[in-house]
Symmetry: C2
Subunit: 331 residues, 2 copies
């Protein structure tokens, strides 16, 4: 049995309804999916939706990991979890990729334990596509590691660039190093050293970029440590949410504003969906030796389908090979 | 001669028109201001506005520091700059506070050289009030230092809390430590150690907060290192700017949207000004032994007046004493 994607059918706030529905959308597009989880529950969910069909299978996992459980401990303990069994399928080449919108920490820990790092990789990185007016910007690391050394940032830049090359088909993605000033001398010693390791080495490296460049989409790839990246991601999400909330409240502040708000609603709704982080599906844990994609815990069926699509496409487009080659050049 | 505020009349993108106009607004409210800068230029500006009047004076500074000049070198070299002379007035107690919207780095370096740190302070911090739906949130450090040790963050928390107590008259401000998870164990070793130094020590300390809490205004004070703080500030500014730009463009996307946009314009304009970072005037460089306030380079006359007001009020309300006492408790 070989499938394109093994899906953690038990992971995420809306599972298993969202995962089963999402898988069915992807299957209808010709992607083969294994639903990994409690087989009784999953067969029942499938039965409610017309029963078994081509392209979708169920792989039993007797255990599951709660969204808020201690990641590393659970990853070690629960070898029968949907995460552990799904990643095992990638290891044994029974699945091209694994997708989870469940416990991110457990998925990362299990991926590292089971698949290990690609040859030459010092640290894996979690990355995310951010919607910007200039098109998607890849931000990494957004939290695989709480601390980083300069050589880690240098590698993140190389594999971020390789991923964007294959995912967005951009020949030479522009890559910026997040700092607090554009000059090479600006920033912490971490940044100054990483800048030295990238300048004149990575094609497309534009030097330091600043916080506002992330929102504006100035470059294709923004490289930072996992602490800063995770903070930035949550500041962005929080600010966008807060702005739409404020906008709704001013649009209710007077009769005139209510009328204006009603007329503007479809256009604003489109804008809102453009900035909905859930719609970006899932992003790979770059640097591990296998395709592991992690999505937002609040993913609905559409977001799950998009996650499955991202993973299947990335594998088809040679993401792993491209990242492997990029790393080989840094070592 | 003693004045409430010595103003760097030559600093900022719109100086000296903005600084002279801003000073006149503040003087009309009963605050005394010394305009520090080229006396010929400043007297000419005053003459155009009806000549000298009570409450405003001119102090000559033969040099000025460009907005983009290398901060520390210039601060050392240009002892006759408006920044150097203005801060000298604070040192000699000829002015209660110094306000500049010019070269931030030069103002920080000069303040440290001339006034030194308050007794017990390890590092000063630059802080900023962010507009949030829950009221202003103080974020510090936003760039006085590119790197931090745990003890620095502990002090920032103490003096940030003391400043909010006097500036916003909140009896016990809530203080959060910016991290990538709410549990005390989450984050870099810097954060985990700082958490240990604050927990059970600083009244109002709520533990770790995350990026989204900044935008939502969950706490009164958010403490972070100068690198992360500066990045966060610019991500926030960039996101708000980008969202308003996007909103304007969708409001032009159809006839219906145009009409809606026109009706909604006054309400959105109000929202926009609420999130205009310039309107927050200026914020103190906390931890130096004297009141030095730094504002946004793009400040207009209204923003300058608000900066002067912030500085005069803070001194009146005993900001320096409160910060000094807070530091004494940490040493």
């Amino acid at each position: 049995m070989t499938v394109d994607v093994a899906l953690d059918a038990m992971g995420g706030d809306l599972a298993p309804q969202s995962t089963v529905d999402g898988a069915l959308i992807a299957v209808a597009e010709g992607i083969t999916v294994a639903l990994v989880g409690d087989e009784q529950i999953l067969h029942a969910e499938l039965a409610q939706r017309g029963g078994p069909r081509d392209g979708i299978s169920v792989v039993h996992a007797p255990e599951s990991i709660a969204m808020d459980a201690n990641a590393v401990a659970e990853a070690r303990r629960r070898r029968g979890s949907s995460i552990s069994i799904g990643i095992g399928m990638v290891k044994r080449r029974e699945a091209g990729a694994f997708v989870s919108v469940g416990n991110t920490g457990a998925a990362m820990a299990t991926a590292l334990m089971t698949l290990g790092r690609m040859r030459g990789v010092e640290r894996p990185a979690l990355c995310v596509f951010l919607p910007t007016p200039g098109g998607p910007t890849l931000l990494l690391d957004v939290g695989a590691n709480a601390e980083a050394r300069p050589s880690h940032l240098v590698q993140f830049a190389h594999f971020g660039s390789a991923y964007v090359r294959t995912a967005l088909r951009i020949a030479e993605p522009s890559v910026g190093l997040l700092s607090i000033g554009e000059e090479a001398s600006k920033g912490s010693s971490l940044i100054v050293e990483a800048h030295r390791g990238l300048s004149g080495v990575l094609p497309g490296f534009v030097g330091n970029v600043e916080g506002r460049d992330i929102a504006l989409g100035t470059v294709d790839v923004v490289v930072t440590d996992g602490f800063t990246g995770n903070v930035v991601l949550k500041v962005l999400e929080g600010t966008v949410t807060m702005m739409f909330d404020q906008l709704r409240s001013v649009a209710l502040s007077s009769l005139r504003a209510r009328l204006g708000g009603a007329l503007l609603l479809p256009a604003v709704g489109q804008l809102r969906s453009q900035f909905d982080y859930r719609r970006f599906g899932a992003v790979p844990l770059l640097g591990v030796d296998g395709a592991v994609f992690i999505g937002h815990g609040r993913s609905d069926a559409e977001a799950i389908a998009s996650a499955i699509r991202s993973a299947a496409n990335a594998v088809r487009n040679g993401m792993l090979e491209a990242v492997g080659e990029a790393i080989a050049q840094t070592t």
